[in-house]
Amino acid sequence: MSRALITSGPAGSAVHLPAVDMSTSIGDFETPMPVFTASGCAAAGKELDQFFDITHIGGIVTKSVMMNARSGRATPRMAETPSGMLNSIGLQGPGIDAFIDHDLAWLRQRGARTVVSIAGGSVEEYGKLAAKLRNVDGISAIEVNISCPNVEDRGQVFACDPNSAAQVIQAVKRNSDTKVPIIAKLSPDVTNIVTIAQAVERAGADAVAVINTTLGMVIDLETMRPALAGITGGLSGPAIRPMAVRCVWQIHQALPNLPILGMGGIRNGEDALQFILAGASAVSVGTVTFHDPSAPMRVQDELEVALALRGFTTLREAIGYAHRGPDVPEIAEEQE
């Protein structure tokens, strides 16, 4: 690459920086670019393609899809919170068949790298979804949203129990194309996220996506009732960023070889860099896309500058860099 980055230095002077090799991998999925959309924050890419070229970012992570069409929950489905928002959409979607025929077909024709997110109400449903996606072209990876209630276990969320989480990943692994990496998407609403990461890794997950939203609630002071029709909702946005960085750090420390797709409140390139330094191999930009529809592209450009400014020539060198040992003081020794 002979591109050069130009950014503005102190007093607005132009600073020329060497281009950074931004390529990275999530398991066997090699991507030239590290910034993705986040599931549920980009639909299936078409709308955002009006604001930036979606083939220029790492890829599109599609809204979690289930076997059948889903209407989702009643409104209000969202509430604004300090530096964030609550949502309770209820996985509205067209169902897997219509998704493959329309959304995935469009993404493939558009040439966008695509990570398909699936969600189920039972272990069996996840397995069936994986089977549906087997032999379908144009899928770079499958993200498994396990933050769903298990209808066969009193609505207990899969992501909150290591055994259920592992069962889902096994079912997906068994039914999917061996060449397509499986990314388990974890919930931060657990006592120890490392336990869950270990369980899904043992079950065959090729990577983890960290983090999904954390459960929250707002009371509307006019009605003096919960602001959301669904009562509770998922909190996202910059408000949860420190929690997300902590989760990435803990998982990378315990499982340094498990690739991480990091997310939670990424607003700019420097936020993304925190995730990379904590151990993420790639990142997703979610809620901030609602604030700035070109955010994924902008964050990626800013991340490259942020890396270059710190002397990195490849993104890979920066992954987990914050975990390195203490800096050895430079002693000016004359070498013989």
């Binding site: 069409a69 604004e80 896309t289």
Partner: protein
């Protein structure tokens, strides 16, 4: 045409009753805007803790001039975000995304049209009235609000209308009551073919019912709370009956904000009717 994402500079801020009218530079926006389109504006600058953009119906657009085009919106203060916007001054910069949504559709042949606006819901009706008249349509306006100061632009819209009927709930201006108290009469007098409406949900529901009862075609521009305004988040949905007769939860930001009055399930807004495609089935 794809929406634009641009930085607009505040050209002018003026008060109009309870509202603030902001004029912003917006090169290229006018050429893309049709009556009923909306735009959304980022609140509080780049590091703002208020992440969600606020949506506004496009009130006026100018395609030429020293600024290479500008746009006017009407801001009603509902909370912190809209208060921040109403406090802007000349030369401040704002992040604009638009035009967004599906606009009103105009009749092919000259028709008799009634435009109904509730509160600042009259804002998108000015451009609509002009374009309808250019097509040889007759335009009559009904504007209603709780009080006189909650009406917007009644003097101005008079110029574009054959008749203007004003209602206020407290009787501070025009007929005391609601728009639907006078609508039946206006329909009869004008032999209306089409009703266009913009305003609060309750008013739209009532207008759509009157239109249906009188066999008049209606289009309503809804105001749902929106997180993204561009179709990616699914927060802004309401139950709408499709041409195939099936009810779906549809996004008001991309499939609306303008809907056919007879296709929205007004009394079910805020719920998921049991016969909606993909509605939760009994059991879980």
């Amino acid at each position: 045409m794809a929406p634009l994402q641009l930085t607009g500079q505040v050209l002018d801020v003026r008060r109009a009753g309870m509202y603030t009218v902001l004029s912003l530079t917006a090169p290229g926006l006018a050429e893309r805007t049709k009556p009923g389109h909306f735009l959304n504006i980022g609140i509080g600058g780049e590091e703002s803790g208020l992440l969600l953009r606020r949506a506004f119906a496009i009130y006026q657009v100018q395609s030429r001039g020293v600024y290479g085009g500008s746009v006017d919106i009407v801001v009603g203060v509902h909370g912190k975000g809209t208060q921040w916007l109403a406090d802007r001054r000349r030369h401040d910069n704002l992040s604009i995304v638009g035009p967004l949504g599906k606009p009103f559709t105009l009749p092919k042949d000259p028709a008799n049209c009634i435009l109904v606006g509730g509160g600042y819901g009259t804002a998108p009706l000015f451009m609509l009235a002009d374009q309808l008249r250019e097509r040889g349509c007759r335009v009559d306006v009904v504007a209603g609000a709780a009080t006189e100061e909650k009406l917007f632009g009644t003097l101005e819209i008079k110029r574009a209308a054959s008749t203007l009927t004003v209602t206020t709930e407290d009787g501070s201006m025009g007929v005391q009551g609601r728009v639907t108290d006078v609508l039946d009469d206006v329909i009869t007098k004008t032999k209306a073919d089409v009703i266009y409406a913009c305003g609060p949900m309750g008013m739209l529901a009532a207008v759509a019912n009157v239109a249906a009862a009188r066999g008049v075609y209606s289009q309503c521009s809804v105001e749902e709370s929106m997180a993204c305004g561009i179709g990616v988040c699914m927060t802004c949905v309401l139950p709408v009956i499709g041409d195939d007769g099936v009810t779906r939860m549809v996004r008001s930001c991309v499939e609306g904000p303008v809907f056919r009055g007879d296709q929205v399930r007004w009394s079910d807004v805020g719920t998921v009717p049991v016969d909606t495609l993909g509605a939760p089935t009994g059991g879980h």
